[in-house]
């Protein structure tokens, strides 16, 4: 099996790569959109701001290819948010693979939402098999995807309920960083690698 980690110049790929290595998975870091079609799984990491990330995805050509993929795709953190139609961060048009609008936290609580929070499982998904309801994951973000029964698999609460895990057709996403979320984060990555 071949896993691609999308390198669009926006994020640090090392942690995801290390996690896959530790799971015994082989992967390639792919910077050329055309070659993506040869892979069985695609991971879209993401750290930073939505505006610059989408700009880089468009310039590199990934923005055109990603929505056409039929293999399992996993977006991490910002990589999940850009699957949506729009983000309030830099008023950015997303890939529009899933409906919905990414919003900024408006709360008395501290922003970013940083640290370990629980995720309640709203419905079954291959991504969360064997992960206990209410497990803790590591989050760092200032914008969130609201809950939508169409794709929300896992819900976390930071004054408002947010989509912590998403699945729509072959597109998956986690708002938290599974590669930094200890045992259950690794379980989710492992599950993704096993989806067929």
């Amino acid at each position: 099996m071949k896993i691609a980690i999308v390198d669009y110049g926006a994020s640090n790929l090392q942690s995801v790569a290390n996690a896959l290595t530790s799971l015994g998975q082989k992967f390639e870091v792919v910077a050329e959109p055309k070659t993506l079609t040869g892979f069985d799984k695609v991971i879209v990491p993401g750290v930073g701001a939505a505006g610059s990330a989408m700009k880089k995805l468009r310039e590199s050509g990934f923005a055109a290819v990603l929505p056409t993929l039929t293999v399992p795709v996993l977006g991490l953190c910002l990589g999940m948010q850009i699957l949506a139609e729009f983000s309030e961060e830099d008023d950015t048009q997303g890939l529009g693979i899933i409906s919905g609008k990414v919003r900024r936290f408006v709360t008395e609580l501290k922003v970013p939402h940083m640290g370990w929070n629980t995720v309640g499982l709203a419905r079954d998904s291959k991504l969360t098999e064997g992960v206990p309801d209410g497990s803790f994951f590591y989050f760092v973000h200032s914008y969130y995807l609201p809950v939508d029964p169409q794709y929300t698999i896992g819900i976390s609460t930071y004054e408002v309920d947010i989509t912590a895990i998403a699945q729509y057709k072959n597109f998956y996403g986690t708002q938290f960083h599974p590669e930094k979320s200890g045992e259950w984060g690794m379980k989710i990555l492992d599950n993704f690698c096993r989806i067929c």
């Binding site: 750290v47 930073g48 701001a49 609580l109 640290g115 803790f136 760092v140 609460t157």
Partner: protein, 490 residues
């Protein structure tokens, strides 16, 4: 904060008294067990049961009913009323989770020391009842000499950690709790359960905000002024985001130093095995602080980071001697999640902004070494030896403005003393910024960690020697904090 429904039993019935007056009672149910089960069904986490006959006569009179309640529910039960001998205390503790000692504890302090030694302070609650600032005893008819602060200090010396606080005159009449006194007792380091006058959700949210560990509701519940669901909803945390426990490892020339001593660990000085060990034990994050003096020593840090990132799958921060965007980029590319900037940020604040723009604010931690200076706190460099003109609170605010994602706040006065974190410093900085604050310097006990999180309002605690020398494990720390009502990843 726990919302604890009260079940007061008199003559086998569930009653409420007005201001503790036995002649002014109202019966709400003849079946206390059914009442207890109903509270459990509605979501209570603990019940507060008072044997009023026992309180009146000094001899337990409803033990069988209380035993039946404990059998009927799965939630925690604390019992008070008429516990005036160690024999009765023991009898109750054989099946109840906690007991509440009243009058006698305050008049005969030796009476509480025994049970605390035998059962642990978290199972022994002392009821502190005040009237006009003095301690009320004997059914609130008399007051003791000295004010309530003296009594609190005496209890603290005896090892008491749990207080049930009632300002007499507010109980049973649905007034308001005495917030000032609750706050003062919390400030003295007690876990305080407020009782008396808790009659609406605003009182509950105020108590929760003060850091009370619980609130007992009675009359308001029975008089249907407030439902248990409403009370629980009002105190439900807005988030399950946990406070973080972060072990800090000092690394010199690629080896962990400061005498980290573990049994059963092959290579004690190896940052990778130690980091992995802490991660496996439940650390929420790690900090590696490079204290190498030489350029060669610093170079080895890059190898350390690369190796740690391959084996440790929780976030980790690297600090010590970082002064350029190039270094930051390299550390992040090798797998560090955050970098901590200290001296370089003071000398060149623009570095904070540049790093935040280039890599995102989430990976920029600004470390502040603060020392008390007059009424405020000054910022110091180089391990507290070099004074700057900066005020610590103002500097924290500027760091936030420039894009810092977190503040790592070390008290140079407390560092290495094991006398507890500098709570005042923590509180001031935490209230001044909207980014997370990590408490550092002075942790000598698990209680210090609690105080930093609750009174100091820290979002995370940095811990070194407390864990390194095996005095406590991370698991113990998390259990302790969790029991104190602090959200923890367990």
């Amino acid at each position: 904060m726990l919302v604890i429904p009260a079940i007061d039993i008199l003559g086998g019935e569930c009653v409420r008294l007005k201001r503790g007056d036995f002649s002014d009672k109202k019966v709400y149910s003849t079946d206390p067990v059914a009442v207890a089960k109903e509270f459990e069904r509605q979501g209570a986490g603990m019940l507060h049961i008072v044997d009023l006959d026992g309180a009146k006569t000094g001899r337990p009179a409803n033990t069988e009913i209380i035993r039946a309640i404990k059998k009927a529910v799965r939630i925690r039960v604390e019992i008070g009323g008429g516990i005036r001998s160690s024999a009765v205390a023991k009898e109750y503790l054989a099946f109840a989770d906690r007991i509440v000692l009243g009058t006698k504890a305050l008049e005969d302090i030796s009476f509480i020391e025994g049970p605390i030694r035998e059962f642990g302070s978290e199972r022994i609650v002392v009821a502190l009842e005040t009237k006009g600032g003095k301690v009320a005893t004997e059914g609130w008819q008399k007051t003791l000499e000295g004010d309530f602060r003296d009594a609190a200090q005496t209890l603290k010396r005896a090892g008491v950690t749990e207080l049930l606080f009632t300002d007499v005159g507010r109980d049973g009449i649905m007034g308001e709790p005495n917030y000032e006194m609750v706050q003062e007792l919390i400030g003295l380091g007690f876990n305080v359960i407020a009782s008396g006058g808790v009659s609406d959700t605003s009182a509950l949210t105020k108590l929760a905000a003060l850091g009370a560990s619980g609130a007992i509701i009675g009359t308001a519940l029975y008089e249907k002024k407030l439902t248990l669901q409403e009370a629980l909803e009002a105190t439900r945390p807005a988030s399950h985001l946990t406070k973080r426990i972060i072990p800090c490892l000092d690394v010199k020339d690629g080896k962990v130093v400061k005498g980290v001593s573990f049994e059963n660990l092959q290579n004690v000085g190896d940052p990778v095995s130690l980091g992995k060990k802490y991660s496996d034990e439940g650390a929420d994050e790690l900090v590696f602080l490079d204290i190498s003096a030489s350029r060669e020593g610093r170079e080895t840090m890059f190898d350390v980071v690369e190796k740690v990132a391959k084996e440790v799958f929780i976030p980790f921060t690297v600090g010590g001697g970082i002064s350029s965007i190039g270094q930051i980029r390299k550390l992040l590319q090798l797998g560090a999640d955050k970098v901590s900037l200290n001296t370089a940020a003071v000398q060149n604040p623009e570095l904070i902004s540049e790093a935040a723009r280039a890599f995102g604010q989430q990976c920029v931690v600004v470390a502040i070494d603060a020392k008390k200076k007059g009424d405020g706190y000054g910022v110091f460099l180089k391990g507290g030896t070099e004074e700057t003109k900066l005020d610590a609170i103002e500097w924290a605010k500027e760091a936030e403005r420039r894009g810092a994602g977190e503040i790592l706040l070390t008290s140079m006065d407390k560092d290495g003393t094991k006398a507890g974190y500098d709570i005042e410093l923590l509180r001031r900085v935490s209230l001044a910024v909207r980014i997370p604050v990590i408490a550092s310097g002075g942790a000598g006990s698990l209680e210090d960690l609690r105080a930093a999180c609750v009174e100091g309002k820290a979002d995370a605690v940095l811990v070194a020697s407390l864990f390194h020398y095996g005095e406590h494990s991370i698991k113990e720390a998390k259990e302790y904090l969790s029991k104190a009502g602090i959200p923890m990843r367990i």
